[in-house]
Subunit: 394 residues, 2 copies
């Protein structure tokens, strides 16, 4: 399945725009997706139903021709950029070059993404180009449904993730307990040390992680706390790893929760309920279900067991205090969301995380997260994650 | 020395703006600098000569209060965001919240950076806020002059860089040559393998590198080619490492060129001339000199030896085909530039790279790069780089 821009064509047609314009580097995922070109410096992509054209610096030109999905690549100097800089300065020269580029393709009105640079927009508006921010995020929505190549890339990132999780599992399993703290190969096993092992393992698998969560005890009870200091026995350790493949730029995401030694009865109940909540979410997940329905299935499990959720108590800071999942692809967090506000039906090709969890500073935190693609099959999804859910490491 | 925003105050006063507004995540360096807060999701910073105020999500609120340099932190819900979303939808709710935030501080007109999001700007304009992109990049210019804390952070990143370069040096030095290719510990020593070793070494030093250049032979003759495949004896190997410290977010940058075995006479001349060019640049570097003058000193050396430069031949693709250096800090490339267009005088506290090089596909490439801070001392700078320049590894 190739990238399908028919929804973008329909948007341009309905709204009466000649084209869709981006000005960003490729860490902006809409830019990488629409251009098919990865560059660390900003460049311009013009999409029209007839063709995709790039405007890049001379330094990037030959690589853009070779690597991008564009039909046409132009460089600044094609519009006499250097001469314009001499005469008018860089700002004015840049604006004139971009206007000349649009003019070459007969484009007089464009939609842009929400984060399109204001200076570029005003420069074009000053040259009678109609520029309007697309507050519907049309390209972001198109990206939510993955192509086969994208699914392969996400599957590969998640495979690397499993190798990293196995390494963490090994460290915790092989650790000894001294004075209540985990020790490994003669030193205290800290959150920082485990994260460094995750980073090294991911490197060997062609991936890198901006951040990794290895949070123990009260740290684990705060979903955004990435953890620090010694890991302790008999306490929950939340391990959340989200690697990006360095070649493909696609992400994986997985969370497991471990206890070295003997968990409290409360922690055991947290874990069992979270497995039930996870299963309930997976049962609800299928094409046509909404994110809100999947999220609701998780809330039902926790609320029926007497725990607060943000649905039952918007102000709670214990219990189930986040949404059930998020889309993932070029961004770790992207459309579609699996939360109480998600009333759009899920579609085959949507890749989402399912990650229920329970949190209480007096008990710790438990979160379990797999990454799945919504699919037209008997189950309604295919799970890209193959890693056991088991709390206790002796 | 603390951050000095007097130039921003003067800009706002001269141009008649009430404040300076940013809407970005903290990978946008102006945002991290002005807010003193690192967040992966976009948030809003308002700077006025009286105070700095942040507008963040509820999730980030307590961390923003604890970590940012802001005098005031507001969260979306302070302006009844949830209720506004119910009534008007997310886009309109966001615009109303931002307008209410500005109104609280009596701000009716703002300058923004060039890459300020168009949707945010138009949302405010629709509520009678005057929004103008600052095409002078005032905050970026302020960032170019580093505080003592920033200098410490850059020095530390460069120290890590030296550890990584020493590891590369060791691999090349200890390698054997078999069939013209470098071998190490039983396997071919490839560009990819060396880069992975750089990544692992940097991780141990608390750093990460987006990319590393280890380019051999004809690859080394293309400055932007990051290199691939086996490293070969008797050919130039350009090694360019630019790590970012994961805690401070500041960067280092260094390039060395190695030859395992016996370089050609031409490669030896490339190296000697590049050392001379490097020395000439350092002689020219001092407070008050322009980047263009430093760059000119390099061009003089190469041109006097009969090699083309972009100054003598703007169309050449051999010889000296890039600028002499760039500012570095939160971004790997930032102000000030050390190139033929840099006519602003360099100031104490400017941190720049000095990186002359010669390139020819028939000879290979040679580049030598140190990172220095311009300083009010006898030399005119302090060199943060302590790594020998020596081409041949036996």
């Amino acid at each position: 399945m190739a990238k399908d821009f028919s929804a973008l064509d329909a948007f341009l047609d309905e709204q009466g725009f000649d084209g869709y314009l981006l000005d960003a580097d490729s860490t902006a995922s809409d830019q990488y997706y629409l251009s098919g070109f990865f560059a660390n410096d900003p460049f311009v992509t013009l999409y029209t139903p007839e063709e995709t054209a790039l405007l890049v610096s001379g330094l990037e030109y030959s690589r853009a021709v070779a690597e991008s999905r564009a039909d046409v690549v132009r460089k600044h100097q094609d519009y006499e950029y250097a001469e314009l800089v001499q005469e008018h300065g860089q700002e004015e020269a840049g604006a004139r070059v971009r206007a000349a580029f649009l003019d070459e393709f007969g484009v007089e009105s464009v939609a842009t993404n929400r984060r399109f640079p204001l200076a570029t927009a005003d420069g074009l508006r000053g040259r009678d180009v109609d520029v309007t921010a697309d507050t519907e995020d049309t390209v972001t929505d198109i990206r939510a449904v993955k192509t086969e190549d994208e699914l392969d890339a996400i599957r590969e990132a998640q495979r690397a993730n499993q190798v990293a999780m196995a390494r963490v599992d090994e460290l915790i399993t092989d650790a000894t307990v001294e004075g209540g703290e985990l020790h490994y190969e003669g030193g205290v096993l800290t959150s920082e040390r485990v994260k460094r092992e995750v980073d090294k393992t991911l490197l060997d698998e062609g991936c890198a992680a901006e951040e990794t969560i290895v949070a123990c005890g009260a740290d684990a009870a705060v979903p955004h706390n990435s953890g620090s200091g010694p890991l302790r026995a008999n306490e929950t350790i939340v391990v959340d790893v989200f690697p990006k493949n360095k070649d493909t730029h696609y992400n994986g995401d997985m969370t497991r929760t471990f206890v070295k030694g003997d968990p409290s009865a409360e922690a055991r109940e947290f874990y069992e309920l979270t497995q039930q909540a996870f299963d309930a979410a997976m049962d609800a997940l299928e094409p046509g279900a909404t994110g809100a329905e999947v999220h609701g299935a998780v809330c039902d499990v926790y609320e029926n067991a007497g725990y607060p959720t943000l649905r039952s108590d918007p102000d709670t800071d214990t219990g189930y205090i986040h949404s059930t999942g998020h889309g993932i692809g070029l961004d770790v967090h992207e459309a579609p969301s699996v939360s109480h506000r998600s009333d759009e039906p899920l579609q085959p090709g949507h890749v989402v995380t399912i990650e229920p969890g329970l949190y209480d500073p007096d008990v710790g935190g438990v979160r379990l997260e797999d990454l799945v693609v919504v699919a037209d099959n008997d189950r309604g999804y295919e799970n890209y994650t193959d890693y056991t859910m088991q709390m206790v490491r002796e």
